[in-house]
Symmetry: C2
Subunit: 364 residues, 2 copies
């Protein structure tokens, strides 16, 4: 049996403790014989700054490039708020995304039945919610040049960021969205601001064309990003696959995640292009952040991190059976009442991070 | 008694019908003797394109410039989706904002007690909600250059938008936010993406400095825009004044508006700098859009438009008493059960647009 090479990058804050639970799960999966991994661990973000002075070393990047998949915990925190812009913790994550070519960020927003009451929204609006946000991840205002702060003659400053999108960048992310929609409900919504942004004009034009040429059997709807944010709150179940750019994707996927009441439970996949050999670079990480305020206290919910491993099994290794088993174990653990503090609700005695990891392993 | 000069720009879609109710209210206010207006009417958006081939004529702009305040209905709709970018309906609104120097967009998100159940959120999360979003309106990615689509040598295209902010632009909007906070709860949250955008770095730096130099008695919190969108859904009442840039303000204010369950009821003010004579340019408009799907059917809720007149009374004319009277009439009409279709709930027989206008006048 192939031993897949996994690089673990725990990162900062609660990253290391949720990653520890992934290691436990990997051990348990190996025992079932369904999946065996060779794991390596390296630093990213603040922990790498502390050790090496940069948020990602060239060596760590090379390891990520050589691995079959990367699992990342989380990066950032107030500890590094004084660090220069180019070597801030987030720069490590952004470099991984850019240099590995991970242009397609898949963020499922699923409302677990056992948790519908944890949503801020009324139960009937979120029960059964299952949206797949497809966010472009290596373009837009995140990487466009110029990106700089200059000092004006009068001593005040001027900051510039540049949003750039090309036809090719939009085409490839559109294909990802439509291909996913074909396996789901057949509906895609595409969000941009074509009424204000030229990149929105091109986005809408290219998505329309890809649809007409290759997916005219599917349903495509265009929605302005501001209206989309509203609609996500008003009636989220109207969406199935939602494709959008890097910056709108950042905001809209956070809204969608929060709706589910299960923020601590949502994984994500960042995928590159499929190469000649049929494989693709991939990084898997929770949607939640590094939550430095609760780090090291055995309070964090490890399910988003464990779910990220399940996504890796499915998208990188074609191990659908093992992925189903692991997703099933998460659902079973929840159904059996396992709760970390973030999803516990009143009067429930919550498990710690490790306890939740054990509950999943027990349900495997 | 001074007769203030008001320019009415009904615009497209439901704009004209909600503006008609403002005219009725203006008549009723004149009878009370509290406020007298000289009104003129002109075209903007699609209606101006149809008549003149451009979304705002120089003559209309000059009238807006000469007026004491402008009331605008709404612009845009699928009818003009084929129109060239530079003369699309929205360009008329954007030109008004830019050429009149209306840099401060105030968007109150208020949950009317009578309507708390219309929110998608659980009642306890939105009851009593009262947020003031302060959105920068003449800078950022809306107006930065270059803003263009170019054709590459291989025939594909490249689109660019540029987000620019200067120290001065950020300072003046920060002052607006802190001055408002001083009259409210004393708390300001500032949202940006300093972890990804240089304009976010400068934004955070300047807001921090304005706070330290002039408002250190107030509480300032910095929040990442993606997290802010989440927090608005999770626990909206944590915010009082929320200051942010043009694009994030567009999305976040729509989320905040939707939370209240009262989207059709929320007005906004766009204000310029105070000049030597103590006056400032101002435009007032509903937060909702042109809703072409329900236009002309006596279905639109005119309360956001009428509330925009109330904001004009307060912010442009110092007629606090008349503004209170009008706001009170809106609250009373609602308390007495007046509902348009959008806020009617099941089993309630809704009023039409004109009926709601009459209900407000009756309550005056
Ligand atoms: C940490 C940060 C750079 C990142 C982003 O803005 O993309 C995060 O918010 C995310 O959504 O993955
Ligand atoms: C109509 C459009 C140009 C406008 C904007 O994006 O600013 C609208 O969404 C708004 O929020 O006022």
């Amino acid at each position: 049996m192939t031993a897949y090479k996994l690089l673990l990058l725990p990162g900062d804050g609660i990253g290391p403790e949720v990653m520890a639970q992934v290691k436990t799960v990997i051990g348990a999966l190996a025992e079932t014989g369904l999946a065996t991994f060779e794991t390596e661990t390296d630093l990213v973000g603040g922990s790498s700054i502390d050790a090496h002075g940069v948020p990602l070393t060239d060596a760590a990047l090379a390891r990520a490039d050589a691995a079959d998949a990367v699992l990342l915990g989380a990066v950032g925190g107030p500890k590094w708020s004084g660090v220069a812009y180019d070597i801030r913790p987030e720069a490590g994550l952004l470099r991984l995304r850019k240099d590995l070519g991970l242009f397609a960020n898949l963020r499922p927003a699923i409302c677990y039945p056992a948790l519908a009451d944890a949503s801020a929204l009324k139960r009937e609006l979120v029960e059964g919610l299952d949206i797949m946000i497809v966010r472009e991840l290596t373009g837009g205002v995140y990487f466009g040049e110029p990106k700089e702060i200059t000092t004006l003659p009068d001593g005040t400053k001027r900051a510039v960021d540049t949003q750039v999108y090309t036809t090719g960048e939009i085409e490839r992310i559109a294909h990802v969205a439509f291909d996913l929609a074909r396996k789901r409900s057949g509906r895609v919504a595409s969000a941009e601001k074509h009424n204000v942004m030229k990149s929105g004009v091109l986005w809408k034009e290219v998505v329309t064309q890809v649809h007409a040429e290759h997916y005219s059997d599917l349903a495509l709807e265009h929605v302005l990003a501001d209206n989309c944010a509203m609609q996500l709150v008003r009636r989220p179940k109207q969406y199935d696959v939602l494709v959008t750019d890097n910056l709108f994707g950042d905001v809209l996927s956070d809204v969608a995640a929060m709706l589910t009441g299960s923020l601590g439970m949502l994984p994500s996949a960042s995928l590159g292009a499929v190469d000649d050999k049929g494989s693709r670079k991939a990084l898997y990480e929770p949607v939640h952040g590094s939550a430095p305020d609760i780090a090291g206290q055995d309070l964090a919910n490890p399910l988003a991190m464990i779910g990220s491993l399940a996504m890796a099994l499915r998208y990188s290794f074609g191990l659908g059976e093992a992925a189903d088993l692991l997703d099933g174990a998460i659902t079973d653990a929840l159904a059996a009442g396992a709760r970390t503090k973030d999803i516990a609700g009143e009067g429930v005695n919550p498990l710690g991070t490790a306890g939740m990891g054990e509950a999943v392993v027990a349900a495997l």
